[in-house]
Structure formats: structure tokens, C-alpha cells
Subunit: 254 residues, 2 copies
């Protein structure tokens, strides 16, 4: 597993360097389901690069990825879950605050996760049998903090609509932050900069953070408190296990 | 004015270094008006450091500052407007995403502004007769972009309550971001990472960005389209002049 983990970290760096160099040139932006659901030619090219290298090194492994309907089921065999550019809107508009994400599962069990904040050049990696690091700095597990001294990361629509009582929960805290990317938001949860993160996201958005988070005292569950299904878009929360009961007591059932 | 501008930049750096070194130690956190309106002993110490140096170098100048009711009127004489730590909640919770801000006015006319993103170590400075820089990189003036390819920075309560139609405006864009600090948010506007910023803030929160922004094609006005008053907390917007009519057409009158 050590060799696979090292390979994965090198690969994610390589993808990040590829994006950094290509983003200087013009790239195509395409609408998917609607005007604010965007994909760029660089998302697709980066995904191809990632898949190509994985298949070349591990030809028997499977892939679950954001673009082009690459959708292996999580529970069977060795599965790499990847998001070439998480936070595509930030990437397009800000050329900042986006991440490359990669997670590795065996028979449905998370082995390690990687989130690379490309422009800040911070690689978050670990989980499973590995300690979790931000570059070469070991991340300490969750440290207790009362709600009224914490911030929440939220999806803007879920917050504005008080979906499942999230705005109600937020009013018990110092407030919300909206960064526009699951990866960079969940990296802030792992570092204690946000207490928890709530969003409506896909498997490749949460797979890496879930594995790393579990090593640090966090859990990723649906808003109903179930394990996510790794196949459809779901409303999920990434939060300290020790705060699960308290936070659930503020969330209304749908 | 060149000497004053150089003095100001050095002073803001010095304040930033002071905060960075002191934040390693414990510091007191105090509630002001309510549990989420916080001030730390470091806000106060940093303000004292700033005021002391200004008065020492320019004993006839006046000060308008956040803490301890230091409130000279903007229109009379030479006035330094300062916020020792903008984004105090981010400072306390995240130890990141806060800024030192300083602006200099003569008879109510802005001469230069400075926003120092301390942890990212980026000093935004200029305005008046000076070009605007992010460290040693000159910032280019606003470049046109359609609403549907832009992001907005907003105050969370104003967004959640659709105050003045802000959520309605946001629905015409790629969405909102909430960073929790006026300074770091308006620096993103100046760099084209956000189209505009809407918040309910005080003179020391907007004075520096207003001066720099005017050099780059932006304007800072109340949501009614008036000049801010530099004396009370007001709902303001920081946006490209060329987009003022369009954006106002989405904002409802109170």
C-alpha cells in the first residue's frame, strides 16, 4: 500500500502541475445541466491524464470519476475515485480555490485520500493506515470547541433555504463560510478552520475527505445520518464524530 | 505623499508581523454587542501600535479607528482610517483570512489605501496618485465579464434574507462566496475573483478598498447608490462602475 500511496501523491502533483501550466492558455468552457453547471476542456484532459497513469500502473483497478460517465461501483475490487478539478467555477472565475482529488478503495473500504489545493500548493494526504498530512505537517485530530466559537462551511442554496435546519444550526455558531469547493472546504474542516461542512455532492466530491477525516475524528454521513451511497448526488455532512448527536439535534428531518 | 505612502506600507507590514508573532501565544477574546461580535486583546494592542507610530511621525494628523471609539470625522484635515484586524472571527477561529487595513484621507479625499492579507503575505496598496499593486504585481483595472460568468461576495445575513434583492441578483450569477472579512473579500473584487461585494459594514472596513478600487474602475456606494457617510455602519456595495446600472436594476429599494 505504501507504493500505491506514493504513486497516488506523485500523480496528483503531476495533475496539479498540468493544470497550472495549461490554465495560462485559453480553454473551452461548456455548460452541462444548466448555465451554472460548468465543465472545461481542462477538467476532461486532467481526468484523462489521471486515468491513463492509473491504468498503466494498475491495469486491474477500476475507476469512479466525475467526467465522461466513468462509474465503477465502489464495493467491487480496487477502485480509484477521482475529481480532476473540484471547484470548477472557482477555477474558471478565480483561477484559484480549486483542488485535484483522488481516493483509493478496496472492496468498499477506504485506503487513503488526497486533496491537492493547487494554487496554495498544499497537498492533504493520508487516512486508512496512514497519518494525515498537509504537505509535511501532520494534522492533529479534531479538538473540542463549543458551537458558539465555530464556523460552518455550507452549500449556498442549502443555507439560504434553511434546508434541513442548517441556517438554524448556523445561528448557534459564529456563522457560515462559502468557499465554493467541497475539497478546499473539507480540508478546512480537517484543520479546525470550519467545524463542519454541509453540501449536496457526488462521490468524487467526498471520497478523499471521508477517508482522511475518519483518521482525524470526523465522519461523513448523509443528512439523515446514513453512510453515503457512492453512486448518486446526496446531501451530506462532514463533521466531528463527537459532535454528531449535538448537530443532529439541530437538523430537522425532511 | 510618496514618503507618507512608504511609511504607511512599512507600518502595516510591521503590524502584520506583530500579529503573526503574538498569535502564537494565548490572547483574550471578549464579546462586544453579542456572542458573535468579538474583539481580542490583539486587535486592541495592534491598534495601539498603529496609532502610536502614526502620531509619532505625523503628530497633527487625526485617526478614525475600530476599537476604543477613536472617531475623527473624515472631512477635516489629515485622517488615517484603520482596522487593526479585519475579519476578527476568522482570526480567532481560523488564524487565517484576516487583514490589517489602513487608509489615508486629506479633507475627505482618499490619498491611498492598504489591505494586508497577513497569512497569505499579500499587501494590496495604492489608489489616489498611486497605481494599485498586490505585492510587486500591478493590478489591472476591471475587465468586463457577463453576470452569468461571475461570482458575488456577500454578507451571509443579507444573502439569506434576500436583503435588497441580493439573492435575486445572485441567481443571475454563478453564485456567492462568503469569506468572512471585508478586506479579503474586496481584495478579491479588485483582482476580478469576485464581481462585487455586498455587506453591512463600518468606515474602517471600506475606506482602504474604496480608494484603491476607484483607481481600478470600481466604486463603493451604499445600496441606495449614495456615497457612504464614514460615520455609521451602512449597507454598502463595492462593484465595477460600468456594472452599476445593471446591478442596481436587480436591487429592490427598501
Amino acid at each position: 500500500m505504501d507504493a500505491k500511496f506514493d504513486f497516488a501523491k506523485q500523480l496528483v502533483y503531476k495533475a496539479g502541475q498540468f493544470i497550472k501550466s495549461e490554465m495560462q492558455n485559453t480553454f473551452d468552457v461548456e455548460e452541462k445541466s444548466r448555465f451554472d453547471d460548468l465543465v472545461t476542456s481542462l477538467d476532461k484532459k486532467t481526468q484523462k491524464l489521471l486515468i491513463q497513469e492509473i491504468i498503466q500502473h494498475y491495469p486491474d483497478d477500476n475507476i469512479l470519476a466525475e467526467e465522461d460517465d466513468v462509474r465503477s461501483p465502489i464495493a467491487q475490487g480496487n477502485v480509484w475515485v477521482l475529481d480532476p478539478i473540484d471547484g470548477t467555477v472557482n477555477f474558471i472565475v478565480q483561477k484559484d480555490n480549486f483542488a485535484v482529488m483522488l481516493a483509493y478503495y478496496e472492496e468498499g473500504v477506504g485506503q487513503f485520500g488526497i486533496i491537492y489545493d493547487v494554487m496554495a500548493d498544499i497537498l492533504y494526504s493520508g487516512g486508512g493506515h496512514f497519518d494525515v498530512y498537509a504537505n509535511d505537517k501532520k494534522i492533529v485530530p479534531f479538538q473540542e470547541c463549543p458551537l458558539e466559537r465555530c464556523l460552518l462551511g455550507v452549500n449556498s442554496a442549502m443555507y439560504a433555504e434553511n434546508d434541513c435546519g442548517i441556517a438554524h444550526l448556523a445561528s448557534e455558531t459564529l456563522g457560515v463560510r462559502i468557499y465554493g469547493g467541497a475539497g478546499i472546504s473539507m480540508a478546512k474542516v480537517m484543520q479546525g478552520k470550519l467545524l463542519a461542512y454541509f453540501s449536496y455532492i457526488q462521490p468524487w466530491d467526498y471520497a478523499a475527505a471521508k477517508i482522511m477525516g475518519e483518521t482525524l475524528g470526523f465522519t461523513l454521513l448523509t443528512l439523515d445520518g446514513e453512510e453515503p451511497n457512492y453512486s448518486t448526488r446526496q446531501k451530506v455532512m462532514f463533521l466531528p464524530k463527537s459532535k454528531l448527536n449535538l448537530i443532529q439535534s439541530y437538523l430537522t428531518k425532511k
